[in-house]
Structures are given as structure tokens and as C-alpha cells.
Amino acid sequence: MPEHILSGIKAIISMKLRRKGLTQKEIAKIIKSDRSIVSHYLSGRYPKEKILRVAKTIEEIPPEYGARIIHSLTEDKELAKNLIKELYNIKLSWNKDSCIFCGTCLMCEVLTLDYLTINIDYNSCILCGNCVLNCPTNSLKFVRESYD
């Protein structure tokens, strides 16, 4: 089952990326699948409608929850990160005005506290959403990235 849902998510992402003009080869690299599977996804032959429905529901829920589901579907953290990024088009953002510097988020090595600034290492962030869910003041959030 988890594999099927993962395929559903990959299919939705493949369609999104194709619309953006990426080639099947480029898409295959991002979703870590075979080019032939990407072609299945794009032609609509696979996966089944009911699986796509689950995947679409995951797309609709708030990204911090969706991110947790996607991370639970695969061990491959890099793949999960790619999928979350492409599905929701989000990145982690920190609000300096509401942060109380409690240090709860510092359990993740992506985040570091420098005087009164939380620095985010976007390259190592796998968008797991733990910090977002644990932040007591909602100062860490997933925000939609602009399309430019």
C-alpha cells in the first residue's frame, strides 16, 4: 500500500513537472524512477484512479502534515524531500517577529541559532516538518515558494 500511494504522488508530480516543460528524463531523475514509469504516469495508465484520489488528498492537506505522510512512505529522505518540494512548492521559513528563541527547533542540525537569528540550511533541510509541528509560536512554517 505505501508504495502505491507513493506512486500516486509521483504520478501527480510527473504531470505537474511535464506541464512546466520538463522532459521525462528530467522528471525521472527528480522522482527517482525509471523513465518508462514516468511515461506510464503521464499517459494515465498507472496508477489507478482510487490511488490518485489518495495522493490528491495528500496534496490538499496542509504541507506540514503531508510532509510527514510522505516521509513515512519512504526511507529515502532525499526522494521524500524532492516529492514534498514539487508537490507543495514549499520551503521552510522563519518569522523573526514571533520567535521566542526557545530552542525547541534546534534539535535538527539544519537549524542554528546565531545571536537572535535562526539560520536555515536549505540544502540539508529534508522538509520533514518536525520543527514546524513542534514550534510553540508557529514561527517556523512551510511557505509557498514563488514561481519565478
Partner: protein, 357 residues
Amino acid sequence: MIEQVKEVYENGFTIYRDGKLEKRELFWNDEFCVGCGICADICPVNAIVMGPLGAIAKGDVVAPKLDIDKDTCVLCGMCASACPFDAMDLKINGKSIKEDERYPKIKRKSIKIYQDKCVLCRQCEMVCPQAAITVERSLAERKKFVIGEININKDKCVLCGICAEYCPADAIILKYNHPSPSNPKPVTDIEVDRDKCVYCKVCEFVCPHDAIEVICYKCPMMKKIPKAKLYEDIQGKVNINEDLCVACGWCAFICPVEAIEVEKPFKGEVIIDVDRCNACEACVAVCPCNALEFPKPKDKAEKVPRLIVNQNLCILCGACSKACPVNAIKVVRKEINFEREPKAIAWKMAFEKLLEN
């Protein structure tokens, strides 16, 4: 989320979180806590619950004044930074946030003694509600200022004790004896305590047997007797126990020579709704400054207000208002006296919550 661990002691607890980058420890000490509830007011996650303060202060219940839920607490340190009594502290990697310039600090225990102005009157020691002040004072011997001679002629003296009864300085001591066949006399001797005698001659005047002779040298030797000088003949020092001090300012308020300066944590006022008060005395018991009082009428017919507050002695901690079961006391804080202002915006907003509540 890294698990937070709580260790409870007899008079307090510690909550700590041991992360990769930082170790945070929050300390709370019941001894210094007065139950003002400022920590609970400022806590951004509502992790602090106050105990039954009135009953605890009156001694009806033995319970901790507050409790912090270890899983709700995020160890941000706002409570520690706002506590006016140093009952809390947050240490990040072993360093207290009180010493960390990133964190704000409310002026607390801010008391200054100007020893050069102090006249060693000891009145501050008498009024301090927390017994945080002690005044050491040692005086030069009385002999230096009181000179004379006294002599009791034992041949004339009948040991009647009239002189001792008159003596205003209680300097004449009779040696009493339980009369017995071997020693039948009830009084065996008379003595003068030369440390107490001021050579006033009263004994000489009242002795019906002319047995006492006193010579006073105070007047003829007026010029030779020194005038006592502070910090020469009268030595002393004021000691403050900063752990106990709550900066109520009572000492500074009554000091006759302005030798004490106290800066309080807040500015504002306490408003009492006398009609609501049912005189349960919880506020009086909880107040760390003894600033509240139920005035007692001088005679039965006199009408006095049920409860009064001396604003000069109050530090606006709000303990009374938290302990009052009928909301008869309102503490209105207008300004916070910071030693270090909060820098982060969220912290500024949090401290503003303490004002005008």
C-alpha cells in the same frame, strides 16, 4: 522532539532538555517564590499552573506554589527572565540567561546602601519584612563619656535597698541570701555595677543613712569628655542579604537620611475594591512586602476601611491579586523597570502582557 526531563526536589524542581546544540535547564525554587504568578502570566505556552496560593500562604495547605508541565514547557526562559524574586533561572549550556545580554532582565533586588550616609539607626533592620537587613553596631564603652566616682560606706549601710529601688540606671545590686541558721541575714552585700552607673547622685540623696558618696566629673571635665563620633566611637555596617530582599523599599522609605536606594521592578498601583473584600486575609498572608493591612479600629465605634495598601511599600508583583478569591484586588502595572530591555519582538510583546492587566 527531544524528551524533557523533570526532577522534583523538596523545595523546587528542574526541567531539562539535552540537545545536540544546547542543553537547557530551568530551575524553580519554592523558597524564593512568593507565588506572584508573573511567570504564569508571561508563559507563551501556558505551561505554568499556580497552586492554592491563599491557603499555602496562610499555612492551611502544604503544596508547591506552582507547577510546570514538563511536556508543555518549551524552555524559552521568559518566566525566569520575568521573575522579580529570582525564584527561577534558565541555563543554556550552563550559562544563566541573567548573564546573557540577549535576554531581558527585570530590575530585581536592586538595593543600594550608602554606608557613608548611614547613621546606624537600625530602623531598616526593624522594618524589613523579609529580615534581609542586619545592622552591625558596636559602641565605644560608656566609661569614655560617663566619668565619676561612687563609694558605699559598708559600715554605715544597713542594706535596706532603698537606693537600688530609686536608681534610674539599675546600677545598684543587692546580694540576696536565703536565710538559714548558718547564714541568717537575708541580704549579705551591696555592689555598684560601674558599667551602668551614671553618677547621677540620686542614691546619695535618697540614702537615709548617709552611706553613699558620689562624685560626678561630667560637668567640671566637660571639655575633656569627647563627643561621640559616628564611625569612630560608634562603629557599624549595614548588611543586606540579597537572596532574601524583595526590593519592597520599606527600608528606603523610612530611612531618615536617605542612605538606601531601592529600585522596584514595576511602576503602577494597586486598586482595592473594599466592597468585594470578605477579609479572608489571603492577600495579607501572601504579600512578600507586608504592604497590605486590615486596620484595627482604635475604639469600638470607629469605622475603618476593611483593607488598605501602602503603595510605597508595594512592588506590584500581583501575588495578592492572584491569591484573592473574590477578585477584590487589581494590580495595574504601568511600566516595567528593565535592567536590560528585551530585544526580540516576541519577547517585547510578551512583557507588554504584564502591563495594565
